[in-house]
């Protein structure tokens, strides 16, 4: 039963990944990635990583993909319609340079895949071909949220706090990057700081001293 489920989910994972790479419209690429992520969550469940599977579906397939869909809708199909963003084997004769680059990319990826498969499945790592740890049911065993939470708040507390700080920095950075209203041209002159609201006029800022206006 688990073997059948593994092959169904594995097919979904690989088909989703191929869809992301091959499909022309970025919107369809995002949808293919959603299918890929859900199939991957099934694989995580088969590996008894219940909390990671749930987080994958909720955080990735839920929140992050919604962000992608919004940005694709905002930017529009401008990327899809541009000449040259053809998928593998798309328009473009064999002689054109873009097609050659695409072929070179595919060859490089294939070489990397063969190398990885040799490294993973070849003679070097015989210990890999095992069946994993034994299964012991219970409320606090391997992979359950209680187990993960216990590890996160004891052994990996520093990584947990660093990840939360990183998320904060990323949120601030995204607002700074994308929240700009009118391009860079009038950027240096028009920025309003909280000090401008509370400071009365003519109180001797450096800008006034060199002849600039009070802002």
């Amino acid at each position: 039963m688990s073997t059948i489920l593994f092959f169904i989910a594995g097919f979904g994972v690989i088909a989703g990944a191929v869809g992301v790479v091959v499909l022309r419209d970025p919107f369809y690429s995002v949808l293919a990635l959603v299918g890929h992520l859900i199939s991957l969550a099934v694989l995580f469940l088969l590996l008894r990583a219940e909390f990671v599977a749930a987080a994958q579906v909720v955080v990735y397939a839920g929140a992050v993909m919604v962000l992608y869909v919004f940005v694709v809708a905002y930017v529009g199909g401008s990327g899809a319609g541009s000449p040259g963003d053809e998928p593998l084997g798309g328009v473009g004769g064999l002689g054109s340079s873009a097609s050659n680059l695409r072929l070179a990319g595919a060859i490089a990826g294939g070489a990397l895949l063969i190398e990885l498969l040799i490294a993973l499945l070849g003679t070097g790592l015989k210990a890999i071909s095992g069946y994993g740890a034994s299964y012991a049911p219970g409320p606090r065993t391997f992979g359950t949220p209680a187990y993960i939470g216990n590890l996160l708040l004891t052994r990996f507390l520093l990584a947990f706090e660093a990840a939360s700080f990183l998320l904060l920095i990323a949120a601030v950075g995204a607002v700074v990057l994308a929240g700009r209203r009118g391009g860079l041209e009038d950027d240096e002159g028009g920025k309003l700081t909280p000090l401008d609201l509370i400071r009365p006029q003519g109180t001797g800022t450096t800008a006034e001293g060199v002849g600039g206006q009070h802002r």
Binding site: V18, A49, F51, V75, S78, S82, A106, L121, I148, A170
Partner: protein
């Protein structure tokens, strides 16, 4: 199911992500392919965690998901900024840091 099958799938997904990053020119799709590579790594991490029977690999997979979310956040912010400044949304055209 032997662990090696999971590792094979993870290698295939990672290589597909590499091919996508190299060949596609829309930065949105490049970001999606980066996600593919991170997911391939995540799958092998969870498989190793299952193999050894302790949760370190799962914690590392969760941290990787967090870092991926941050990367998506910043990347999409940059794409929106690029789009607002009427620059071409194409990684081959964007060659200068100053824009």
């Amino acid at each position: 199911m032997s662990i090696a099958w999971y590792l094979a799938i993870s290698a295939i997904v990672f290589s597909l992500g590499v091919v996508g990053v190299i060949t596609r020119r829309n930065p949105l799709v490049v970001l999606l392919c980066l996600e593919l590579m991170l997911n391939g790594a995540n799958l092998s991490l969870v498989a190793f965690s299952r193999m050894w029977g302790n949760g370190d690999g799962q914690i590392l997979a969760l941290i990787v998901m967090t870092v991926a979310a941050c990367e998506v956040c910043i990347g999409l912010g940059m794409i929106v900024a690029i789009y607002r400044r009427r620059l071409p949304v194409d990684v081959d055209e964007l060659r200068e840091l100053q824009g």
